[in-house]
Symmetry: C2
Subunit: 270 residues, 2 copies
């Protein structure tokens, strides 16, 4: 018996490995320091993203699938319209530029909106670990099931996007955290919540910097939900109707245990 | 020709590897989930610290050195008084409890105060990398020299300890950062500055939670200074006379490029 979902996961996995190979090649090549490396001063983000997108398209062509592509730099690529592969080729480019080991490739496969994402797969480009989930089939890290963790006030760890573009609300939230972490890589932070490493994640920037796009969260949100967690915007609105489009941005509030957002509201974290 | 400094570095290295082995053994053993693991709810910090301290003492005995030991749990151990080995056996225990891969063993060797630390060695307990420095001989990561990076406002990355115990001043500083990171592991954050991954690091907690001790910063400060950076408390006082003792605590402001603290003062980061 062939398992079509498993076959699709394998294609996403091969695409993630292709991106990982490009990422390592570029990082390890002194003469590509202009693309991603300590010497970079301009905006090499686009070039490494384009190299990664080209690799993903090669994999899709080789596999013979008719999926459209939606990705940060290349935009929307019509390839037959079966489903849409929503891609953030490198989440955490600024970390990579500074040698901080927090970056991923993020791949979500589905239709229309975040609720229509059927498979999410994220590969950690430093540790080499792979996270994936398919709707109704659970979430996995390197083949082992992952689950969120019950919220316990004494053990609380929250991830919050901070710095000069963060809103007052995000700062207030961060100041209530028992322990605060920030990695500058939304997928890794949401996945930390998915595997019990954190209890919540908040991202809300002011209009001058912008919020997250479907490409940033499609895969991680699917994995988090399959691991037992939940995700909304910071106003409490669900994101399942959030469209697969580069033109829309949203704040994000993600949690592992549904008791946590209740406690955060009750205890005035916001 | 024997090189006495190099011989001492090798002893610190062997002690760090012994701690790493204990850490991995405990993490990989389901029946030791009470010590460090996802199942822990109490205060297992002390037990893993004591196991690590016992390993370090075994190495010192086997090497036949007369160094005293100063460490978080065991306190001060007189062993002959040649010099003092200042140890944080596990920096980042709460990360390890949650499966967040940011923890180190930190070893500083010297006399009297932070300025008297001659050798610093830190091993990353997840990545397996080793950082070390000896006064006047430079700083290294896995044998390769590391240097801090010139501050560039557009590329700025700051590490700040945040959450409910952080002071107003630390929060103000974090809100000015172009990009903000927080790992919950002081040594890794100071070493990120040392190797050019960040431009600054701030730790200042209110009195209810306490600041850093000599054990937390002895090794990382030595490595940072040899890599070209600097360290003070947040009032601008130097730390070289800060005593090797568990009874004193201090805030920390570390930087890679001396231009950064000047810019931070000028532009009202504090």
């Amino acid at each position: 018996m062939t398992d079509p979902t498993r076959a699709d996961v394998d294609i996403l996995y091969r695409a993630s490995v292709a991106v990982h190979r490009v990422f390592r090649d570029v990082r390890g090549s002194p003469h590509r320091a202009d693309v991603v490396g300590m010497g970079a001063t301009g905006s090499p983000t686009e070039e490494i993203d384009r190299l990664a997108e080209a690799e993903i398209l090669k994999v899709l062509d080789a596999e013979g699938v008719d999926w459209d592509l939606l990705s940060e730099e290349i935009g929307a690529v019509a390839r037959g319209g079966g489903r849409t592969l929503v891609v953030d080729p490198i989440d955490g480019t600024h970390n990579a530029l500074r040698g901080l080991p927090f970056a991923t490739v993020s791949l979500g496969l589905g239709r229309r909106d975040l609720g229509g994402i059927e498979i999410g797969l994220v590969r950690d480009l430093y540790r080499g670990t792979t996270y994936w989930a398919a709707r109704g089939r659970g979430a996995f890290r390197d083949g082992k099931p992952i689950r969120t963790r019950p919220w316990d006030a004494r053990q609380e760890v929250l991830f919050v996007n901070l710095g000069r573009h963060a809103t007052e609300r995000a700062v207030r939230f961060a100041r209530r955290a028992r322990r605060l972490r920030a990695l500058g890589c939304a997928t890794l932070e949401i996945l930390a919540v998915a595997e019990g490493g954190g209890d919540g994640y908040v991202f809300e920037n002011g209009p001058e910097a912008g919020n997250l796009r479907a490409t940033d969260i499609a895969a991680a949100a699917c994995i988090l939900e399959e691991a037992g967690g939940g995700i909304q915007d910071v106003e409490g609105r669900p994101l399942d109707r959030f469209p697969l489009s580069l033109g829309r941005r949203t704040s994000v509030f993600a949690w592992g245990d549904a008791e946590f957002p209740r406690a955060a509201a009750r205890e005035g974290y916001w």
